[in-house]
Amino acid sequence: MAIGTGCSARPGMSRNNKTGSWRVFRPEFINEKCTSCGMCRIVCPEGCISENEEGLPVPDYDYCKGCGLCAEECPSEAIEIKKEEK
């Protein structure tokens, strides 16, 4: 990638930077306990949790940094934080 004068960039450039590689802890979603309240999607600072057709959360591990906020806020304790294994 050539560099832009003044380190300028077009929108969406951060997509190229897959920050999921920084992750130490990984949220695992237990669909059996999930009530589809959507809280995890709302609180995710990276906005990397989407919803599938059944209303269940789908994380995008390319960008999930493993902050654990989703697990902390989940009212049904349907998200477990596990040590990332690479």
Binding site: I3, T5, G6, C7, S8, A9, R10, P11, M13, N17
Partner: protein, 385 residues
């Protein structure tokens, strides 16, 4: 037209003629008169600019940064502690390659608090990527603003500029100044043509994140652009001379240097005193000359080396001190003369408004003749105890 004007008002007048579109500044002594005058011009609709009032210098330069990124010609002015508060934004302006122009009415930095002149403030930002131009008198101080915009906005440069002139000594002194007419100013300085700008219809972000595999290249590009200014300034300065008779094509200026044995090197208003002192020393048979630096960043190493090549010793007068080392100008001059046998003596002088007279310049020359240098000139031993 030649008018007797206070330095600050002359600078404000020139800045107005540069047609800035956004002005954001915070008043601080001895810069205040400049922005007061500009605020009045905006209020009276004499210039078509937005004047953004802010609560600090950090905000002032931040507003200028944003406005410049949005495609406006911008202006600010500050000094001393105000410039210190802008430190972070200064680096951002350079890194985002925004051609901001800012006047610095040079003043000492605290503590202890001093409102008086030296050049520590702008010198302390020598590594920020801004061009640094220093004026000897009010005529030069005003003219350098036109030059600064011209060079900064050149698409091969795209870097911000400080136009520095000594606080009080110039800013509050009435001198005859020839101010350009609006037509003259327009003939020299075309409207700002941004290289790229913030536009909601065609979005772009400035100064984005650079990981270790990109950061060094950005720094290299700034350095290259700043060095390129070594050829763009003479061209723009020469053009100014052709149009208005005052030539600024030299990055440095020599005064009675042709057969000089001892060369003084300095920047700013002290050069006027030095020139008078040199005339007196010349009358007494001493072969002394002055090399005045108009441009400190980028540093004109080649020109300094060439100008000083024939002298037997060099005395550098620094109105600043890189504490723990030497004066900033002396360090650069030593670098320029590295490998030659010419001794370079540095003198820290006139800090915090300490007066410098012709006899002081003569004493500095005597010290250099005696091989004594790298010292604070004129220390009051009774105060030190």
């Amino acid at each position: 037209m030649l008018e007797i004007t206070e330095g600050s008002y002359a600078v404000a007048e020139a800045v107005g003629k540069c047609r800035p579109q956004v002005i954001a500044a915070y008043p601080i002594t001895p810069q205040t008169h400049i922005v007061e005058a500009l605020a009045e011009m905006v209020a009276n609709c004499e210039i078509d600019a937005d004047y953004i009032t802010v609560e600090s210098e950090f905000s002032a330069l931040s507003a200028c940064l944003g406005a410049s990124a949005a495609g406006s010609r911008v202006y600010s002015a500050t000094t001393s502690q105000g410039l210190a508060l802008m430190f972070e934004v200064c680096f951002n302006c350079a890194g985002m390659r925004l051609p901001v122009v800012m006047s610095i009415a040079n003043r000492a930095l605290g503590a202890p608090l001093s409102i008086w002149n030296d050049q520590q403030d702008s010198i302390s930002l020598r590594d920020s990527g801004w061009l640094q131009l220093y004026a000897e008198d009010n005529q030069e101080a005003t003219d350098l603003h036109y030059l600064a915009y011209k060079v900064s906005e050149d698409h091969s440069i795209l870097l911000p500029s400080f136009v520095c002139f000594d606080g009080f000594i110039l800013s509050h002194t009435y001198e005859p100044v020839d101010t350009l007419t609006q037509e003259q100013a327009d003939s020299y300085l075309p409207p700002f043509r941004p290289f790229q700008r913030l536009d909601a219809a065609d979005p772009i972000s400035f100064g984005m994140y650079a990981p270790p595999d990109y950061y060094m290249e950005f720094r290299y590009e700034i350095d290259q652009a700043l060095k390129k200014a070594l050829s763009v300034i003479p061209k723009a300065g020469g053009e100014f001379g052709e149009l208005f008779g005052r030539d600024y094509s030299g990055l440095v200026e020599s005064y009675r240097m042709d057969d000089a044995e001892i060369a003084l090197v300095a920047m700013g208003s002290i050069c006027g005193t030095i020139k008078d002192a040199i005339d007196e020393m010349r009358d007494a048979g001493k072969k002394v000359g002055l090399l005045k630096l108009r441009v400190f960043r980028p540093f004109p190493t080649k020109e300094v080396k060439k100008a000083l090549s024939g002298v037997s010793s060099v005395a550098v007068l620094d109105k600043n001190i890189s504490l723990g080392a030497k004066g900033a100008v002396a360090l650069e001059v030593k670098d320029a003369l590295y490998g030659s046998q010419i001794p370079v003596y540095g003198y820290i002088i006139a800090l915090g408004g300490r007066d410098v007279r012709k006899k002081d310049i003569a004493k500095v020359v005597s010290l250099a003749e005696g091989g004594k240098g790298d010292l604070f000139y004129g220390l009051r031993e009774e105060v030190l105890k």
